[in-house]
Amino acid sequence: MAMDLELEGRTALVTGASRGIGRGAALALAAEGVKVAVGARRRELLEELADEIVAAGGKRPAIIVTPDLAVAGGGAYKVKDEALAALGHIDILVNSAGRSQNPDYPGRMPYDAPDTAWDQEMQLNYVTIRQLTLALIPGMIERKYGRIINISGKTEPWQLHTANPPKAAVHGFSKGLSRQVAKHGVTVNSIPPGKIISEQILRNYSEQQRKETSKWIPSGGFGDPSDIANLVVFLASPLARYITGAVIPVDSGFRRYAY
């Protein structure tokens, strides 16, 4: 018998949903009948996404215009409150708001970069994820169903970079949490994306750099947000109930470590 994902009627909050991976995840979940709340800073992009979801036959998502989540100050809790107000409860949290570079410090970090440059990246790429996750976990435990899916990053730092410490923190946090909540029907997993075509990647890589980088990708090319979204949908489903505490790269074998 063919598989039923059993996602129809569930609810999801997707952060970083205006572009790239978050947008792809929101589209894919909505296509499976999930009622979605989409969060990001740019309302007009979220409205466009909402129209696209409806045009594809999905339920109109709730739009949550978020503050800059790289700034400390409870932005995650505001997002949580608005999402719960819109959806009632959250079954699936896709933590996709994040970035691989501080826009003021593209590339390697200078030794004398101010603490704020590091703090912002820790806030966005780890603290916000931890806050949102822990705020939604009690409701998931109560309903005996929950899915935390973190879009993290590779754990192969090749230079001094703001993204590596918070992404590693997400993996450590997720593993510990996963062991504690597994018996309540809640799974916690992280997806380090490979080179996926998105607004960020197009900004960070010139066409020439993309060509050079592709030589190191076994399939020979960059991926698409839908490649991540397909895994998000699978992990969100009850079919993946026994997968938890895992770090699952979607990178066409780009990273080098074999385990």
């Binding site: 018998m1 063919a2 598989m3 039923d4 994902l5 996602l7 129809e8 499976e32 009948g33 754990t155 993996h171 450590g172 997720s174 593993k175 510990g176 996963s178 062991r179 504690q180 597994a182 018996k183 490979g194 990708i217 076994p218 399939s219 020979g220 991926g223 698409d224 490649d227 397909n230 895994l231 699978f234 079919l239 993946a240 109930r241 026994y242 997968i243 938890t244 505490g245 895992a246 770090v247 699952i248 790269p249 979607v250 990178d251 066409s252 074998g253 074999a258 385990y259």
Partner: protein, 226 residues
């Protein structure tokens, strides 16, 4: 809503048909419209490839699921060279050889899926199976460099303790799940279907950008965090 994993009409060769995991995988693939040839791994690589090719015409998907019928056997540091080789042949060399023989046709077709069901990476005892499992992981990762550009993915699934397997018989489920922070955080041994679901996902064209990974399907059993 039924998910279309886009596998209808593909041909899959599944080893380990006598075990619950191999059987569940074969059933799940059949459920997706895949033509499945299940084989007993004891027949040897050449005979298996012949049998699969004859039955299916073309093998798109290779599932190496034979190792689950075994469980890690505690051995002494003085293990004989012969018994070490015998175990490595069974656990590592056979899956490697099957892939090697089937890959040329996958390359020609521009599409292929290889999924290896492997043992754990956290040895509590001395056993050949852990070496074989590590070898499979390193082999799969490096082989991906050679075949990834041909529409082929190769991945490993690392099951936890699965009900109905020979390995499961050696554990008392209550001991693994009874305490406040149980050895198996999920609180139960897994079902073979849990493994099968992951296999179907990894075989689908929808997972084209996932390759050379080790996916634990273990209810949180493994301890390392990556």
């Amino acid at each position: 809503m039924t998910k279309d994993w886009q596998l209808k009409g593909r041909g899959a060769l599944v080893t380990g048909s006598q075990g619950v995991i191999g059987r569940a995988i074969a059933e799940a693939l059949v459920g997706e419209g895949v033509n499945v040839c299940s084989v007993d791994a004891n027949e040897g690589a050449e005979a298996i490839v012949k049998q699969g090719t004859r039955a299916l015409g073309h093998v798109d998907i290779l599932i190496n699921a034979a190792s689950e019928v075994r469980r890690p056997e505690r051995i002494g540091a003085d293990v004989s060279a012969a018994s070490w080789k015998e175990a490595m042949d069974r656990e590592f060399e056979l899956p490697r050889r099957l892939a090697h023989d089937l890959i040329p046709a996958m390359i020609e077709a521009g599409w292929g899926r290889i999924v290896n069901i492997i043992g754990p990476s956290e040895p509590p005892i001395f056993s050949v199976e852990y070496a074989a499992s590590g070898a499979l992981q390193g082999w799969a990762k490096s082989l991906d460099r050679a075949i990834g550009a041909n529409g082929i993915t190769i991945n490993c699934i690392q099951p936890g303790i699965i009900k109905g397997t020979a390995a499961a018989e050696h554990y008392d489920e209550a001991e693994l799940t009874g305490m406040e922070d149980p050895v198996i955080p999920f609180g139960e041994m897994g079902d073979a279907a849990d493994i099968a679901h992951a296999v179907v996902f990894l075989c689908s064209p929808l997972s084209r950008y996932i390759s050379a990974i080790v996916l634990p399907v273990d209810g949180g059993l493994c301890r390392h965090q990556h």
